[in-house]
Subunit: 227 residues, 2 copies
DNA sequence: CTTATAGACGGAACGGCGTACCAACAAGTA
DNA sequence: TACTTGTTGGTACGCCGTTCCGTCTATAAG
């Protein structure tokens, strides 16, 4: 616990060596021994540090899962919509902070099917974590479990949508796009015990209910003050 | 093309042998040579037939992708909602028809992390296929690409929700539950050029917009007649 | 009937992954 | 100094998935 500096640098050197070699020769043409040799350690040490060749690419996965869980556990009924948005934002921010490293990983994963599978497996873990909380929060609604699963999928999908746009340099303001994406995704969420004063709404329009509901959602969000 | 009977039985014997051994000793404790020996063929033949040990579990994947693509390609603007629902139903029906084999696979996949990753990879392929069509259909809407991705995720998630309930014996009428799940998932879809006669809606209720919209959606669905 | 060509098959060998085991070595403690 | 504790590298092993090659069978041509 106190030897972070030395231990961290060994792992970091392995990660750096791995990315170098992957970009030089490709993933499949790089052996674990190659990586270890360039990092100046033995092959055994490499597997002790990462467990598998794929793990070099996705190291902070468990950390992010933990942070999401914390954020969702801290939500009160009134702040759940916000908690969902912020928990998702934690992941986005993490990749934004990585900068070029995240883009290198994106290129790599996109070109190696085995890594794609690994990545989607990780994404699924996020989704299941969100679903676990949402099922609890929405179980009283009609089709609550289904709607919880759908919203969990939507949150993850919306996050990936914005993240991929940033990774491909298709946006200069990912945070704003993320806000909008969360707004759309959270159309599926309605606060649980909230019983607001009844309101008369009269509409004369050809807009579909979905469009109307999209317009009204921000009002509902604002009604739930953050703690 | 005409040697289906002999070729099919070899593959089928390998699949049968594989499932037997997986249930007897578990996935990891079963080698490719074990499977081949029990099926009465050589190890080389096994890898020629399936390419990898995982592939024995998910053989008809490409077939299903093809059928979905066909169904979506055949949709007209007026029948797209129905096409989405039916294309998804193709997958559900496939597993329902498999019966006990599907349940054996479910137990197996649930207990072996490597197979889980493989399965989610397959699911992601379905999702991407749906998204490809939906992006085309919805690109004119505000946030069209995002909404297309979300709906694709919802369709796949809704399907998996019902399928898993059936796999766990939590439902006796998966088709009806699937209808309802599709209804909820398709709340995200609004037909493209549809410009219905305007309607005045007066509501005095404490229900949220999302709930109201959920109630109204069937009316919209009925407006798009099937060809 | 014989020969030729193509395709399915099994065997052997190879590189690589991930694991298990072991010996060497450093650092802190009695 | 001796003893633990933990990290490291080396060796060996089983298995995966691929490649190469020789064998067998079947269908067609001569």
């Amino acid at each position: 616990m106190s030897e972070k500096p030395r231990s961290a640098t060994t792992k970091d050197r392995l990660v750096a060596a791995a990315y170098e070699l992957f970009e030089e020769r490709g993933f499949d043409a790089t052996t674990a021994e190659d990586i270890a040799r360039r990092a100046g350690v033995g092959r055994t040490t490499f597997f002790r540090a990462f467990g598998s060749k794929d793990d070099v690419i996705f190291p902070e996965h468990d950390l992010l899962l933990g942070r999401i869980d914390e954020r969702l556990a801290a939500a009160t009924p009134a702040t759940r919509a916000l908690a969902l948005s912020e928990a998702t934002r934690v992941v986005l921010r993490h990749y934004l902070d990585e900068g070029e490293l995240a883009r290198a990983r994106y290129r790599l994963v996109g070109s190696v099917p085995a890594l794609r599978a690994r990545e989607t497996g990780g994404i699924q873990q996020y989704q299941r974590l969100f679903a676990r909380w949402l099922r609890e929060w929405m179980s009283h609604l009609p089709d609550g479990h289904l709607r919880a699963d759908l919203l969990a999928a939507d949150l993850v999908t919306a996050h990936n949508y914005v993240l991929r746009r940033w990774l491909r340099d298709q946006t200069s303001d990912p945070e704003s796009e993320f806000d909008q994406a969360m707004r759309v995704a959270l159309e599926r969420y309605q606060p649980s015990g909230l019983e607001p004063s009844s309101t008369v709404v009269v509409l004369r329009t050809s807009a579909t209910p979905a469009a109307i509901q999209a317009q009204l959602q921000p009002l509902l969000d604002n009604e739930a003050p953050l703690s």
